[in-house]
Symmetry: C2
């Protein structure tokens, strides 16, 4: 799509003061009513505010606070990143800030600013712009498919109008410092309009439409924005067409399958002790170096119950200093987590920069247990493949090595281990009725696992399927694989 | 209290391997059972791990992960602060990390590290140490009174033993880099032991006891720590004596009362427009400067319904750029918030450095609506005064100006405004049955407000009681007061 032309949006009606008051009064009632209905629904509303008219964006946010019930709004300003934000994947700060179902979130700048800023100041490339725009489309689509109403405003005001305002600004309600900031903004205005036009065209979508609002006449601006928002709120209540999810990723070449795994791999006790000690020592060194250099990493462990995930993780963590890693066990989502997109809780768990975050079970639950046990609808788990690939792309682009392990055992071995657990008093708690129930669906889990490997195996986020019939073999393979990936990354950086 | 002497704790029994295995097996069952009971209770468990034996602290955390059900644990490592953490009040990062009721949180370093670190490296004064120790005592007491079980371990190992370990470390499971880190730690060992002794003595309390664990013999260390934790979990289940809350602050001299307020203060329309415009312009400049200099501030608005809090806030926010402030409306707590100490949600809402955070109602709800309507027990709201004073002290110590406004009207004016709201279609939603119910308890609210002023009015966190019968007067007074405080702070820094 070619760039939009903001000139097309410059001529807005200029309502009189009386006209404005009359319509404002009606709109406010309807907005508050729509917000009330929203509150009891499963939907989230995201309002993105951006523009080439700095004061216009601020005034629109003021207006929304005044016209909506501010007690049920959450506004976040995302312009320059803090150090901590810079050291996390793109979109990390937006995911964390998403309002829960039933609420409205207003975001100033955010992902639109992130894509445009670097181009505006010449610190990023055309490819970065493309990449961030693509992620923005995927982000908005992911949320819209999950029931979010996404409304995007670009406040556009011609340079001449802004200049005239600047000249008057000594008399305005804003002070000298604000005028200085406007001036700085104004110096970049032409380029900002051009980038805005590109960005708006690039990220326009029926499920997340842009409204370019002329900032020339504040009354006209307010009414247009409020009416657009009201229509979106009302359409979101049922009339809007369901957006199409991102296309399901095609099965990847070279993805592993469980059938081709040699479960017989073994490692006798003597060579095990030796290789384990060597691998642990190396892991200790590598993770300290990664920590000093601010390199984060993410590990995922999946596999049947009792496959030895916990044991493998402990063999790693024992060799690492507590400050360099975090283990995140994943169980059923909490009430609060259920009021968000299912990926929200994983985004929130990404550890600070320089740390290894180890997920003991993960976002893959969506296409494994939730699929097999029917906790997710088919539409939900089917679209999750693409959502997961997108999520992992953002992780990998931030520089974090991502390693995904599937530890595998056969049904008989699982039963032996369950029985052994029941006989070990301090392991009894690890086994419950649902474990036996899951066993009954063994073949369904295998099918789900194979499809998951096929659809989410990626060069930079490969699956490592490890035979865990022999625990020693599995533990050593896992640690050696992690070491190799860390060493390669540290050498390359 | 004089410093503890860690030498007294150096002789720990050295269980044989068989003895260890036997007791470990029993302990693990009991720990998991106690954790299971905890899960269905209202209690939180906080385990603080610190020490002069770096590897010992890490190994203890590994052990807890192995012996407890790791799916219901949350471990956080708090050593050096990130930039963002540094720019927030002390204890901000710990409050945010508190586990919810029913869960266990393990914290490495944390507030003990914060007090000791500066002394160890010579970057802070004896007063800082005293101040942080005092806050630590208050923090632990606040949580313990709220039903938390606080368990603190200091792993102490004599220097000679650590040196011997270092010599062997080439052969250990830890690598070269880890040995380097240990060495750095070892260079400060003597001073660290000395500071540890001071800190432990300074922060010892029956409701948050220290256990000094010798790290000489790892098996002895593990058993002692696990047994201590188990006893604490079991005692927390009912046998432990209730800790005494912090003493209720005495009524302060110079605290305002509602009776002495002149509600007749008025500001006619003409001078209003002029003073408002001047104050807004000044506010705009000051907040931009504060933002550039990283100065955060916190504003609190309380007062009867319809006193004009929202209107006053909007007169401010209209003059400010959206990036420099955040408005936090406070309503009933969510499920998740109810599973934490009542102050948790306010800590979480403190905005990023350099911003003004405006609370529309606040933590004072505890001693106002929750007191009057009986949502909090008398013991809960009585102890809240001291907790609030402590919270605000931490805010103020971080350099943030804190302004607390009570906007006041009389009963008749409130009724007039309620009736006007009912007639304004877009304001109807602002009024509900509970508003009329609250009116019935007018005198109780006045009594609660007066006691609140008396007990929480502080030189650096004063209450500003503003006559709001005339909205214009209230708005101008509020903005001018904020400007004066910001200007004074910016001039002083």
């Amino acid at each position: 799509m070619g760039p939009a032309d903001f000139k097309d949006f410059e001529s807005t009606p200029r309502p009189s003061k009386e006209e404005y008051e009359r319509r404002a009064s009606e709109l406010r009632v309807e907005l508050v009513n729509a917000q009330f209905d929203l509150q009891h629904s499963d939907r989230t509303v995201l309002i993105l505010v951006a523009g080439d008219d700095r004061e216009g964006t601020h005034e629109l946010i003021d207006l929304l606070h005044e016209w909506l019930d501010a007690r049920r709004l959450r506004t976040e300003v995302f312009l320059e990143k803090t150090d901590e934000e810079q050291r996390h994947p793109a979109f990390w700060r937006y995911w964390r800030a998403l309002p829960r179902r039933g609420q409205i979130g207003i975001l100033l700048g955010a992902w639109s600013y992130e894509a445009i800023e670097g181009r505006l100041y010449g610190t990023s490339s055309e490819e970065d712009f493309e990449r961030l725009s693509r992620h923005a489309c995927n982000f908005e689509r992911t949320l819209a498919v999950d029931g979010a109403t996404v409304v995007k405003f670009w406040i556009h005001t011609p340079r001449k109008v802004l200049e005239k305002r600047q000249r008057k600004s000594a008399k305005s309600r804003y002070g000298r410092r604000s005028a200085e900031r406007n001036q700085r903004f104004l110096d970049f205005h032409e380029k900002l309009v051009q980038l805005g036009e590109q960005y708006v065209a690039r990220t326009e979508a029926p499920h997340a439409p842009w409204t370019v609002v002329s900032g020339k006449d504040p009354r006209g601006r307010d009414l247009l924005a409020a009416e657009t928002l009201l229509r979106a709120l009302q359409a979101g209540a049922g009339a809007a067409p369901t957006p199409t999810p991102m296309p399901t990723p095609e099965p990847a070449d070279g993805a592993p399958t469980l059938a081709e795994l040699d479960l017989g791999a073994e490692l006798p006790s003597k060579p095990y002790e030796k290789r384990l000690a060597a691998a642990q020592e190396r892991l200790s060194d590598l993770t300290i170096e990664a920590s000093e250099r601010g390199l984060s990493s993410v590990l995922v462990f999946e596999g049947p119950d009792a496959a030895g995930k916990g044991g493998a993780i402990r063999r790693m963590t024992r060799a690492m200093a507590a400050p360099v890693y975090g283990v995140v066990p994943i169980g059923a989502p909490s009430d609060e987590e259920q009021r968000h997109h299912y990926l929200w809780r994983f985004w929130k768990q990404l550890g600070r920069a320089g740390r290894m975050t180890i997920f003991d079970r993960s976002w893959y639950g969506r296409v494994l247990v939730e699929r097999v046990e029917g906790f997710a609808t088919e539409a939900q788990w089917r679209r999750a493949y693409a959502e997961i690939v997108e999520f992992e792309e953002l992780l990998v682009e931030s520089g974090a090595p991502l390693l995904k392990f599937w530890l595998h055992i056969d049904r008989e071995e699982q039963l032996r281990r369950f029985e052994a657990r029941e006989k070990t008093p301090y392991k009894k708690y690890k086994i419950g009725r649902e474990d036996y129930r899951n066993r009954a669906r063994w073949d369904d889990y295998v099918e789900a696992a194979d499809e998951m490997f096929a659809r989410t195996h990626r060069p930079h986020a490969p699956w490592h399927v490890v035979a865990a019939q022999d625990k020693r073999h599995a533990r050593v393979v896992v640690i050696e694989t992690v070491c190799a990936a860390l060493a390669a990354k540290l050498a390359a950086d």
